[in-house]
Symmetry: C2
Subunit: 542 residues, 2 copies
Amino acid sequence: MKECYDRLPRIEGLNHVQLTPISFLKRACDVYPDHESIVYGSRTYTWHSTADRCLGLASGLRKLGVSTGTTVAMMAANTPELAEAHFGVPMSRGVLNSINTRLDPDTIAYILDHGDAQVLITDTQFSPVISKALDKLDTRPMVIDIVDEQAEGGERLGTMTYEDLLTIGDGTGDWGFPESEWDALTLNYTSGTSGRPKGVVYHHRGSYLMSMGTVSAWQIPKHPRYLYTVPMFHCNGWGHVWTMTLMGGTLVCNRAVNAETIFRSIREHRITHFGAAPIVLAMLANAPEEVRYTPDYTVEVMTAGAPPPSKILERSQRLGFNVTHVYGLTETYGHVVFCDWKAQWSQLDIDRQAEIKARQGVRFPMMESARVVDTRTGEDVPADGSTMGEVVLQGNPVMKGYYKNPEATDEAFKDGWFHSGDLAVLYPDGYLEIKDRLKDIIISGGENISSIEVESALYKHPKVAAAAVIAKPDENWGETPCAFVELKPGEAATEDEIIDFCRDHMAGYKRPRHVVFLELPKTSTGKIQKFKLRGLIEDGKV
Amino acid sequence: MKECYDRLPRIEGLNHVQLTPISFLKRACDVYPDHESIVYGSRTYTWHSTADRCLGLASGLRKLGVSTGTTVAMMAANTPELAEAHFGVPMSRGVLNSINTRLDPDTIAYILDHGDAQVLITDTQFSPVISKALDKLDTRPMVIDIVDEQAEGGERLGTMTYEDLLTIGDGTGDWGFPESEWDALTLNYTSGTSGRPKGVVYHHRGSYLMSMGTVSAWQIPKHPRYLYTVPMFHCNGWGHVWTMTLMGGTLVCNRAVNAETIFRSIREHRITHFGAAPIVLAMLANAPEEVRYTPDYTVEVMTAGAPPPSKILERSQRLGFNVTHVYGLTETYGHVVFCDWKAQWSQLDIDRQAEIKARQGVRFPMMESARVVDTRTGEDVPADGSTMGEVVLQGNPVMKGYYKNPEATDEAFKDGWFHSGDLAVLYPDGYLEIKDRLKDIIISGGENISSIEVESALYKHPKVAAAAVIAKPDENWGETPCAFVELKPGEAATEDEIIDFCRDHMAGYKRPRHVVFLELPKTSTGKIQKFKLRGLIEDGKV
């Protein structure tokens, strides 16, 4: 009877425990104390010593006044310090704001100010840009320096080093489990391709479940040896610092990510798993013979951001890599959809395999729903592999919201779904494939034209260095594609030449009607700022 | 700043989704619709058809009036119906009470009455015992018959068959996700070795996390092929029906569990995982040559209840089984501690391996804490491998409590810990090993004597069929061990003979001082009822 079931006690800490990735560290320390936790050059740690350092960091931060909801910003490479901060900052009850190391001083200042950072832990390698950022602030956070002999120098900006911080606490070993699993865990700013970056807030529950579900989907065995190539400032490195701790793994860190360090790490540390953008995969596939290394076992590689081309895929397989294509956003803690590979597909030829692997696929187990819906009606698009719709998501690993930005939060969460802003098609087997950003799609004469498709064609032109395609209002067609093209140094081309080239590479109605030659505006991380190009069109300048 | 983080919206169903194993079925249906879900003799299902049947069951039960907190009892073998009920009953918002099929009519009547069952789904094979149980009830539940051609007949007791039930609903396909993850999911009665059985209540959150953590610890790959040898009425078959669904696995069901069906299933269905009590392992290890089958891959086997002896372990390894020893209780959804194997241990000789594997080990990742504490002070015992203490636990997979039994619930939950009632020692590496039930330990002259150790020695005596050792009050020693012995048919023995035998097999102070020969009182499932033997001592009869 309902009332008898309802009467049973919920005792906090006994039969109801707040979910948090801090649990993973506590267990790794209890169960695998002597197992290698982090390797970074000549520095190596065990789970016992890592836990010790995280406890020290938490205690030190508390001494500095950090408590529930205090933002602790961090500007660091993929070093042990940043991995430790993924536990130590939450254990101080603070919120970790790991900043993109490639940003400009102005944006960094904006993030420190908007994010209310009280403490900034910064690697001296980034002192030049950080000191400029700090100069722009009215109120400076407390600054702690990471002084690392593997860094390329850089002056000290703070009053205390990171190593000192680990020692100033009370040493009582308080693990700092959160009072609520809904408490904020980290703050991650988006890249700002469409204006000022937005602060995405993660919580403990979402991160715990993200890790559990990642183990299931990626089938991570015990003691993975994980090479950290994905920057930890990006969606907290896809949450893998927490996930690998759950599995008692070893994190291998490098300050620089290039073909040589990756292959050397795989060889020296018998790496079993890593994550890599397709550009990194391409770099590895095309690396010179003397740098390459093929292990005698399969390395599991996660890739996201763009589908891996068949040539890269084939070469990756020959290098012993099994590539899994995933999809997600900063707003979803990273990957929430993946191309769940079916055994029979491995029998297909490599081009067909690449075609399937280009699909982002199906949801991870910790996600409740991933649909592709008509943007007007909210109904599912037909699973025909051609009708485009927006990807909308539900699940525990969806952000708490954008920090101090209720309008953007409401917009992202309208109608009970998280709106990804990505357009996809759905195949008959339920696998989805991303086609474009919603705001980049061009609707011409009632037909959808994917800006990505037109851009892909433009990139094939031998004279084109970079390209972006934007919708331009048109009296007859509603919109037509307008191409913004940056030519390779020393090259020259005409509008007709480009349009003719496109006509040979796609259906006629998809070809650009206008071509503008210019140096494309980019963010500090190299992403093209389409909103600026859109501004040129709106202002009637092109 | 805390208030800015706290202000972010928690939107039910969007960025906060109630945890429930129903999610696993929905995803298996979405992602692996054509993959084999359940195999039972000539009957096979896919995840799509299983989901369909579960939706039908839920809808049918709702039609019968089942709603949140209604108990639905089930008396069934390990058939597809019972597996389906693990989803279909919760999807109707009801609570599944799967009853031990070996119980007597009186205990079944007690459970149906105490558990407030409104509906009873019963396999006709159990009609003889169920009809007697129903006769004892003042108010009968609604009875639904499972009519299975693989059953050994049995009369129908209800007005509707299970197959009919699947069709009477509204067919709207309501998945019935719970309003709260804290809602009751199942009700499991303990075996009643110490009196009337207690009703252990599980909730959705605990079960979801149990499955996620089991995947991590047991390293279950995608699409496991799982042989269901553990009865699903026992801790919901260790929760594996949910866990295997999470991994898109295949459940292979058999009505009978014996060496022949197990080996045949492994061969025919390429079983990758199963669970087995040590007695089942022994049965397999000792099976005749013509029945045995050794696959060309490793089968992962979980065992619980008693440590696997080295001989059995050695033979199991030769059969291609990798045995993992686990520990848990009905109150903890099954296994929560396991002997997490270290690679270097595989180099040791088999006796030493068995010695280590006898340890129950360390906590699963979904458990927060598993300690061994002094029963008087509540402090951790020294990790010396010899000091005994009680195993106490904390974690989400700890029951909601005992149904309609607040006294027993309070007792089990005292001081903020779940008290297992099991005594263990802790080794220096943090692995625990169960030594006895707390209430069975004998304290003689200040020394702990494990009743299990004395019983193990008695079982080695060639004339002994069964034995139980109980503390008997003693003026000088406080307590001394009293042995209750059941001899093999046709055998005769003297008290001195037994005591002398024990003296040769253990430290002198541990030997029984009294030996009582009798037929031991047992539960319907064959467990010795020590409380009745204790009664004989208390009443001064021995």
